[in-house]
């Protein structure tokens, strides 16, 4: 009997959390299904009267949504790929070796997060212009790698810290070079942390807005966040289209999260701040 009550309370608790988490997303769904004449409605129905997929049709056929999507996929995948490579080796160096400046490097990584990021935009723009990287997808990709990197290096370092050094040393004794030992022994054991790092970098590239707005001017290079913003014009906001677009944008990330769900929990071990 006590056990049964316990289950009831547990479920009530979980459902309260589920409601809180899911409700705003359902709101977006509702808005996206509204026909054009009912955007301002005081109904709370999840499926509006006379619901329609018009907004999705408009987004996919009349707006350059697929072009935005293509640009965002290039940027986000590029960011994830570079981010994973740099963070996996950088984190390894910080986890396994003690060298002069080790503590300073760890502190420095944390410090990159402390300065208001938007104030870095202007000098960054001037620098990128000198390097001919303004208005290129490569330019924003570099900025995104730098945005995601501190967290990723930290995550990788934290995870490597939990893997016994002995495994690496055994490989060295067996005649592996330090590089081989890293690639063949440590890296395969770090899959969960690599997944987190990749996912985090991907999300940075997928949803960043400020840097993209400053760096990208060409219509052909617009990423998804810029594209969605273009629906807010001075005269009217295309709310239904925006909502439909938002769901289409969120869907790939949500699917990624679901697919990688079981790695998330085991991979997220931030190392301590102090070396």
């Amino acid at each position: 009997m006590r056990r049964a009550w316990r289950q009831v309370w547990l479920h009530l608790g979980v459902w309260a959390f589920v409601l809180f988490s899911v409700y705003p997303v359902l709101q977006v769904l509702t808005t996206s299904l509204r026909p054009g004449d009912q955007l301002y409605s005081t109904e709370l129905n999840l499926i509006p009267d006379n619901w329609t997929f018009d907004a999705y049709r408009i987004m996919l056929t009349e707006k350059p949504f697929l072009l935005w999507m293509r640009n965002s996929i290039i940027v986000a995948l590029g960011t994830a790929l570079i981010g994973v490579v740099l963070a996996s080796i950088g984190g390894f160096a910080l986890s396994r070796y003690r060298f002069r400046g080790h503590g300073a490097a760890l502190q420095g990584i944390l410090m990159t997060q402390m300065f208001p990021a938007t104030m870095l935009l202007l000098p960054l723009y001037l620098l990128m212009r000198k390097l001919y990287l303004v208005d290129t997808l490569g330019g924003v990709m570099i900025a995104y790698v730098a945005t995601a990197l501190p967290f990723c290096v930290w995550t990788m370092k934290g995870y490597y810290d939990t893997i016994p050094v002995a495994l690496n040393e055994a490989a060295l004794i067996d005649g592996c070079s330090p590089l081989q030992a890293f690639v063949r022994v440590t890296l395969p054991l770090s899959a969960p942390a690599l997944v987190i790092t990749g996912l985090f970098s991907f999300m940075t590239g997928w949803s960043e807005f400020m840097v993209a707005r400053v760096m990208l001017n060409s219509k052909e290079l617009m990423t998804l966040p810029l594209g969605l913003e273009s629906l807010f014009t001075t005269y009217q906001t295309e709310w239904a289209n925006y909502a439909a677009g938002s769901l289409l944008v969120s869907l790939p990330v949500v699917v990624l999260f679901l697919l990688l769900n079981r790695y998330l929990v085991s991979g997220l071990t931030l190392g301590s701040v102090k070396g």
Binding site: T42, G90, Y97, F99, T118, L149, S246, L256, L258, V265
Partner: protein, 298 residues
């Protein structure tokens, strides 16, 4: 100490990250310090010149002006309130959710997936969605309040309620991150510890404070440090939810205030000096955390 050959590997492994971070963060940071020492603003847009720490002097006068003309302390304290309230809720909700999901519960993989949703949706989309939900006439929040017989609230006309709306949004956004970190930590606590405590007669509250929390501390401390920095410097949520500081620039925290000063009033020099100040405040907070963490080592 590592051998020379190994240290060389460490150098090459760190180099690419260092180059990227120095270029994208380090160089603009130093450039900002230079800007903060100039009079760069709307009137000296093309010809900024050195002006001897005048921007810092200006900042100092704002800090020491208690006549009510300066907004400095209101914004400063609001930033701490913003950070503190958000973190408390992130940790309480995140930990509670993690402990619920750590129980034997049918369908918990599904529940876990649903609870991660706020983290998976891009932040600007969530922020704008919540702004819509707080709309006085058509927003879901007020419609629900009306349904249960409460007075609707005009969220963005009052300083207090606008701030509350932004906080609710950010709590929603941030708790899954702590939940995931805590879940990982919970799963690594051996069940025998709880068994032993139960045999010794420790109740659930005692078990939580004597076993769960101390065992989670190593994973939660870094999350606390990072969470503090991220929340303190969170521009997006306040900016988007309150539509650039509604009502009438009253809902700013330090970073949104700086952003507005730089990109709407073109006071670059002043904004740069202010950013250096924000950086120093955060740096001191993190040092304080480190000191506490070290003295509490066990």
């Amino acid at each position: 100490m590592s051998t020379r050959r190994e240290t060389r590997l460490a150098f090459w492994f760190l180099l690419p990250s260092a180059v990227v971070l120095l270029a994208v963060v380090g160089y603009p940071f130093l450039y900002n310090i230079w800007i903060s020492l100039t009079n760069w603003n709307m009137f000296h847009f093309r010809d900024p010149s050195w002006n001897n720490f005048a921007q810092y002097g200006y900042l100092w006068r704002e800090m020491t002006d208690f006549s009510g003309a300066s907004d400095f302390w209101r914004i400063f304290l609001k930033t701490f309130a913003w950070t503190g309230i958000n973190l408390v809720f992130h940790f309480v909700l995140g930990l509670s959710a993690a402990m619920l999901l750590n129980q034997k519960l049918p369908g918990r993989t599904l529940y876990r997936a649903l609870l991660i949703l706020p983290w998976a949706v891009p932040q600007y989309i969530s922020a704008l969605t919540w702004r819509g939900m707080f709309n006085a006439e058509y927003g879901a929040v007020n419609l629900i309040l009306a349904k249960v017989g409460l007075e609707p609230i005009s969220w963005f006309s009052g300083e207090f309620t606008a701030f509350g709306a932004a906080i609710i949004t950010n709590i929603w956004l941030g708790f899954p991150f702590i939940m995931v970190i805590a879940l990982g930590g919970l799963q690594s606590i051996p069940e025998e510890l709880y068994e032993a405590a139960r045999i010794d007669g420790a109740g659930p509250v005692r078990r939580f404070f004597r076993i769960t929390l101390p065992m989670l501390k190593p994973v939660l401390m870094p999350a606390l440090v990072l969470g503090t920095i991220w929340t303190f410097n969170n521009l997006n949520v306040i900016w988007l939810v309150t539509d650039q500081g509604l009502p009438a620039d009253k809902s700013h925290i330090l970073v949104t205030y700086v952003y507005k000063a730089a990109f709407f009033y073109y006071r670059y020099g002043y904004a740069a000096a202010f950013s250096v100040f924000i950086f120093l405040v955060l740096w001191m907070i993190v040092r304080m955390y480190n000191r506490v963490a070290r003295t509490e080592a066990y």
